[in-house]
Symmetry: C2
């Protein structure tokens, strides 16, 4: 009795061919969707393959097709649950397209050149940069090599690289209007990475909304998307002689830390003493301990757009930059005082949608 899987290092298509009594080409065609092969031959091959435990070698296939079916994902800030959520959705969507994720973590800045070198060595079919920017030389190099690159949740100045973002400026503006309508008087802002496009746009929109009401003064401190730095920034703001009564924190990840500092170090009640709003609508923002009023970044839509751009560019070979901007929505919870009007409730979830005047 034998009948089991052959215990050998790796079965090749030639071995299967020999076993099935066909050519190696026939084996290859059996495992190539759409190749011309008779049902009969195919069945023979499949039987032998199963018996021998054959699996096509994706490496050898890649070498010849010039397609690795691998997408490099460069992602930092994994401690911010927004990114693990994105990663999971990316994995799902790419798997559905029969692509795989080669993950590079821990590159927050433009120090990504070494990682980039490795991406290139693996001849990845596309690159998703979720929290890093490439230097423009690298970006050029990808374009030259015909490898599509998509920036996720970030743009570059000259828009020379494809990107998927949400309407950060609108979001910042909505939060500003919301806080003004809530009767707040003194405003603070805790920034993310100062030179990141999301940070600039959120602050820009916020400024604009306040300016429209004649408010020009915003106390700004830097949090760099880091919990620890956000805590320090919060302490500075809350120690101010004229303490803000509303703080916009550039993302929920930091907003959680800011709330903890306000409550547990300063003994403040939220939102009675201090209103806090964030951005992303990430997990902890929805936990009852925080209930952060926030602007959503719809992960599924963002990921879908990212994968669509990539698939399109891989198929067409045209890496002309594409930009997708997705609207977000202001979700109202308990971390900020409410305006008298403009609240809408849908399925138990509150939104702020003031009448346009």
């Amino acid at each position: 009795m034998d009948g089991g899987v052959i215990k050998k290092s790796s079965v090749t298509s030639s071995e299967v061919a020999a076993h099935a009594g066909v050519s190696q080409s026939a084996v290859s065609r059996t495992f190539t969707p759409g190749a011309s092969i008779s049902p009969k031959t195919r069945a023979k091959v499949l039987a032998s393959a199963k018996m021998l435990g054959y699996r096509p070698n994706a490496i050898a296939r890649s070498l010849i097709t010039n397609r690795s079916r691998i997408i490099a994902v460069v992602m930092a800030y994994l401690e911010n649950l927004f990114y693990p959520d994105v990663l999971e959705e990316l994995g799902r969507r790419l798997a559905a397209e029969n692509y795989h994720v080669l993950l590079f973590t821990g590159f927050k800045d433009r120090d990504s050149d070494p990682v980039f070198d490795q991406l290139m060595q693996y001849r990845v079919d596309g690159i998703i940069l979720a929290s890093t920017a490439l230097s423009s030389e690298l970006s050029d190099e990808c374009t030259a090599a015909g490898i599509p690159v998509v920036l996720f949740n970030r743009t570059t100045e000259r828009d020379e690289t494809s990107s998927v973002t949400t309407r950060n400026r609108d979001g910042g503006r909505m939060l500003g209007e919301f806080l003004v309508a809530g009767g707040h008087k003194r405003f603070g802002y805790i920034s993310g990475l100062e030179n990141s496009s999301t940070n600039r746009d959120r602050l820009g929109g916020f400024r604009e909304a306040l300016a429209a009401k004649g408010i020009d003064k915003i106390e700004i401190r830097t949090g760099n998307y880091s919990r620890t730095e956000a805590e320090a920034a919060a302490r500075e703001l809350l120690l101010l002689p004229k303490r803000p009564d509303a703080i916009f924190v550039a993302n929920d990840h930091m907003a959680v830390a800011v709330m903890d500092v306000a409550r547990y170090e300063f003994g403040l009640s939220i939102p009675e003493d201090l209103s806090i709003v964030g951005y992303d609508d990430v997990g902890p923002a929805r936990w009852p301990s925080y209930g952060i009023t926030s602007v959503t970044q719809p992960i599924e839509q963002m990921v879908e757009a990212t994968v669509d751009i990539l698939m399109d560019q891989i198929a067409s070979g045209d890496t002309e930059p594409q930009h997708k901007i997705i609207p977000g929505e202001l979700v109202v919870r308990t971390s900020a005082r409410l305006p008298k009007t403009g609240m809408v409730e849908i399925d138990g979830q509150k939104f702020y949608r003031p009448k346009k005047t």
Copy 2:
């Protein structure tokens, strides 16, 4: 003027060889650490390579060396920050060994066979299973193919696959002793996946500690490592006529949800009305809103052990299962009433280390 990077699909070693006036072998040797090549030839090659924008094709190299330098990481539960932390550390440590991570997410159960098929096609050099078990056939198949597999934070019954875990039984026991010493009388347990080894061990140790004090009754509900299910489990426990005064939740991710339910749905004070302890010592456990008394799972040590096993087995070709068990420690915070004795404070961090009797 030219002098820029050549805009071509991909530069090969032969092109570099032609440009440098050497053989293709010489180019290969230049990029193979330890290969015998004269400094002079090497310099020539390097110069041409740079000028042409050459990067060795890792795919072609893999085909011939039978080493992809890719490790497959299968991971689920990314919404539990423990796992993103693990992922980041794994990325760092593997990168240091010049390995890369091919990530497969979203496979919680033994439904991992399709994903497994793909791992195999990419001829990965090793597999890390962080929240999935392979069926034993698959495990056998990896062994047959000589691919090292390490279970992270999980073991199998027959210990036929290498694993890295912490002393979950000891941890459960310590938590039990801690709660008994704290004067609690009625105990609840919210489980993780019931058939996971970590869950069984944590509960086993907890049971043992209580039994040693003559306590046999534990109200058990199932949380399956899911926030929503943990909330439901908490509601059931807190609705009991004789409500527990101490609940051990199988991990911090669920414990956070349980605390929120206790406080915001039942209006309970923690730890006055109810003590809660968790496991993992994950980010939110340390946030002041929660301050969960928990048992640490030292991620750096666990990841180091995992990578060590993998590197060892890849180098030696010997995939004999290895098991590494790392001790954890009971970190005391504010979510549970304190025992009168046995507390130790080190660097502002409290631990429970009762004298052994």
